[in-house]
Symmetry: C2
Subunit: 246 residues, 2 copies
Amino acid sequence: LVLTIVIAEAALQLVPKEIQSHTLIRQYAKRRQKNPDEVLLDRAFHHSAMQKLARKLGAGQVERMGRPDIVHGTLLQILETPLNWEQQLRVIIHTQDDQVITINPKIRLPKNYVRFVGLTEQLLVQKRVPENGEALMRVERKDLKQVLKELGSDHRLGFSILGKPRLMRNVAEEASEFENPSAFIGGFPRGHFTENTRRLLDAVYCVDRESLDAWVVAGRFVYDFEWAIGVAQGRIDASSKQNGQS
Amino acid sequence: LVLTIVIAEAALQLVPKEIQSHTLIRQYAKRRQKNPDEVLLDRAFHHSAMQKLARKLGAGQVERMGRPDIVHGTLLQILETPLNWEQQLRVIIHTQDDQVITINPKIRLPKNYVRFVGLTEQLLVQKRVPENGEALMRVERKDLKQVLKELGSDHRLGFSILGKPRLMRNVAEEASEFENPSAFIGGFPRGHFTENTRRLLDAVYCVDRESLDAWVVAGRFVYDFEWAIGVAQGRIDASSKQNGQS
């Protein structure tokens, strides 16, 4: 029984071609001793260049871009958990430009955001990190449909404010009755899943009347799933036997 | 009924006097257009200067310092939650150098780490942010004992791998039976609460047999507390009545 968390349509990509020659981007890349096509797009640093991008690609698309911190925060919340330590978690990041990042559960993700950005840039340029040896992260170009086919998930649920209202605990209990459930969480700052994503899902649930950050949804769902399958209880029973485990 | 989360002995402070003249620190401050005494200590950037600090202050103390990302990650996980939106959460950060930061629940915390660092530096220099108008964060010099006195908490619990093994859900249920419970979470990367902190607590609990990151503990406890007092259920019942709330 393994839960797959899919961070879908994540706002994580290298600076797109359209603005690589923008002064702000060139200065930013130079300061970081990289080329403009080797740095992550980040709204916190590239605001005015992204305004220009919005005029080219449309405001609706661009306001969903440039938030690698969403992926970082979400990964931090789910990778160092009992569910992952028990090898019952798989994490996949699908980006808005249809790249798919798979994560080796053994990774020690950089806790520092600046380090995470550096590592992810290296990943997107080299297609894997580290360059040699066992891969900790890999990236391939494919769309979600293909990912799901390879995954063979027998239950695909998503979280969205547009979904059917339901307690998250109940969503986790339901998911735990499948062999290979997957949970889709939007990796973008606003808006909803695109129709392309939506139609891949068996069910979409809304777990609060206000929109929750991706890392809150992911952290809570992993925790509820641990409960549903007895991981939380099992690990504490075990530690009780050791009588205080100092 | 308000839950107070205390991030205790947090690894958050300005670069200490002992290494302000270190080349690495001076270069770092200059690049950020600040003085060396106006920048946060951060292990991700100041590693070699911190080695020098370890020779002056002792390795044991210094390995617990320089991790402002712990505070950032923890705040992100608990401030944008139903419990805070229902005005039933209070957050206090106590630092290793006995400063106490109080947070206005209305704050919109910067999601980007670099922005958070900038804001916190401004806070520690000016003692409040913003400089005028309603404070979103304030800092005062005081120790935890004084904080607790002002808080008037009727139940003070802490999380530690050295504590008594107990399911977190049960810890939350117990806490919810008090009027003014407070939960202490260590804001440092390794080690345990100091004896000074430990002796202020009514109970210390261990909720997993391995050490969990502060943001995981905080996020899970806020969620369990929401359940214990019925917030999760109430907000979903309410949204069901609106029949899908798009």
